[in-house]
């Protein structure tokens, strides 16, 4: 058995459906470079045994990721990453990450709470990407 590279953590109280959580967490791993092309995703059995969620949810999330061309399932072998979402700038130790960390430290030092900072970031993101706000509607 190949080492499991990603582990899904399902928050049942968060309001976001387990289906969307698996898609989001997979994409985050692809963006951060935690998952790279050729890597094997855990099987549905492994995911549901660890998270106690419905297997059809995992299969549906994998099908959606496959439809988006990010992963592919090979019959009887497993599910593999096809394409990374990592951009050089989004990797953990990049310059942008350092800038952001420094900026957050500054905001905290002048007394802003976590929620205040998140609101500032959200406002700036909404202004920069005006159409991308619908995605959060799902979370109810």
């Amino acid at each position: 058995m190949v080492d499991v590279i990603v582990e899904y953590l399902i928050d049942r109280r968060g309001g976001l459906s387990p289906y969307l959580q698996i898609i989001e967490q997979t994409k985050r791993a692809l963006r951060l470079g935690v998952l790279q092309p050729g890597d094997q995703l855990p099987t549905a059995r492994e995911v549901v045994e660890a998270t106690a969620i419905n297997p059809n949810t995992v299969l549906k999330a994998y099908r959606e990721l496959e439809r988006e061309g990010l992963i592919e399932s090979r019959r009887g072998v497993g599910t593999f990453v096809r394409r990374s979402l990592a951009k050089p700038q989004t990797v953990d130790d990049s310059a942008l990450h350092a800038d952001l960390t420094a900026w957050i430290a500054r905001a905290r030092d002048i007394g802003l709470e976590r929620e205040d900072i998140a609101a500032l970031v959200d406002t700036a993101l909404d202004r920069a990407y005006p159409t991308s706000t619908e995605a959060t509607e799902e979370s109810g």
């Binding site: 049942r12 549905a44 106690a52 969620i53 419905n54 299969l59 109810g140």
Partner: protein
């Protein structure tokens, strides 16, 4: 990936795992279950929800062939539940988890192996081992939670195609509950097992089941795919402009499942048809919100008279049901 569970998305001519048509059972003068129409396709994980005495155990016992229906019929993969082939393909764990108290854990598993042709010793042993149960302990000396584990080992060791569990996790601790639910889901993922599971604890079903059936007073109040339920319902909160028990006019064209008032605030669970008035704060309810609303309100078709029914459904109810208080009585 090669999982039998994927088959559920394909339209096949295969018989459903469980099908009830006009199913009813009468105990003396009381109907424990009546007019029950249910179709559970293969590969589903279905929650059976309802207050005590709603007919959950009766439905399972009828499907398991332990009771004979007064009217209607029930089939398992297309055959009567008492046919030999059906008995081999299903496992039913009763709420009281009957085991032989004088058998040791090892003897219980051995009985399971000898009585069931398709026995899976590996999964049965694994379930017992994860609970650190001594194999030589007599079942009668185990705690309720440990006996639940032995019963799980038996029903999963049988490797059924249809697994019916009546309040299976009522007396296990939260860690074991998560672990046993995980094993249950893993078996479903690997073998495409159809699971019918009844529970009072609505929160523990969220994310686990993909289909839900609500029983109320021996009748099916609701039976639907979970995704459809979540997509079709909205929770709205607003200041209602009516002083009668009727629905606020701006909500009147939606199907109102439940309407509750506290002071000026009105909370309603709707099946919206068209846009919802923007003055109402609208959100997506979770599965628990939806099930509680259906459990609290009678089926409109069951109402004796329109006036009396509207009073029951529309009467101001205090908002006391917290997240933790999820048992439905």
């Amino acid at each position: 990936m090669n999982h039998p569970a994927q088959q559920q998305d394909r339209p096949t001519g295969a018989a459903p795992a469980l099908e009830a048509v006009g199913l009813g059972l009468q105990y003396r003068r009381r109907w424990a279950l009546r007019d029950c129409d249910l179709r559970l396709p293969s590969g589903r994980v279905c929650a059976l929800v309802g207050p005590n005495g709603a007919g959950k155990s009766t439905l399972m016992a009828l499907a398991a062939g332990l009771l004979a229906p007064t009217e209607g019929s029930v089939t398992v993969f297309g055959n009567g539940p008492r046919e030999a082939g059906s008995l081999r393909r299903m496992a039913y764990l009763r709420q009281d988890k009957p085991l032989y108290p004088r058998f040791t854990v090892a003897e219980t598993l051995r009985a399971g192996r000898e009585l069931n042709p398709g026995w899976d010793q590996a999964i049965a042993e694994r379930i017992v081992r994860l609970g650190d149960l001594p194999l030589d302990a007599k079942v009668g000396t185990l705690t309720a939670g440990q006996r639940t584990r032995v019963a799980f080992a038996l029903v999963l060791g049988k490797r059924p195609d249809l697994l019916m569990l009546d309040e299976p996790l009522a007396d296990v601790d939260p860690v074991a509950r998560q672990e046993l639910t995980g094993i249950l889901m893993a078996e479903a993922a690997e073998h495409g097992t159809t699971i019918l599971i009844s529970s009072h604890v609505l929160a523990e079903l969220d994310g686990v089941c993909d289909h839900v059936t609500v029983l109320r007073n021996g009748r099916i109040r609701l039976s639907s795919d979970v995704e459809d339920l979540l997509d079709d319902h909205r929770l709205v909160v607003g200041a209602a402009a009516v002083d009668s028990d009727g629905a606020p006019p701006e909500l009147a064209h939606h199907e109102i499942v439940e309407l509750r008032r506290t002071g000026r605030q009105t909370t309603a669970l709707l099946k919206p048809s068209g846009a919802i008035d923007p003055r109402w704060d609208t959100s997506r309810p979770n599965l628990e919100d939806i099930l509680i609303a259906y459990l609290r309100t009678p089926d409109p078709q069951d109402r004796p008279a329109a006036g009396a029914g509207a009073q029951t459904a529309g009467r101001a109810t205090e908002l006391t049901t917290g997240r933790e208080e999820v048992t439905a009585r």
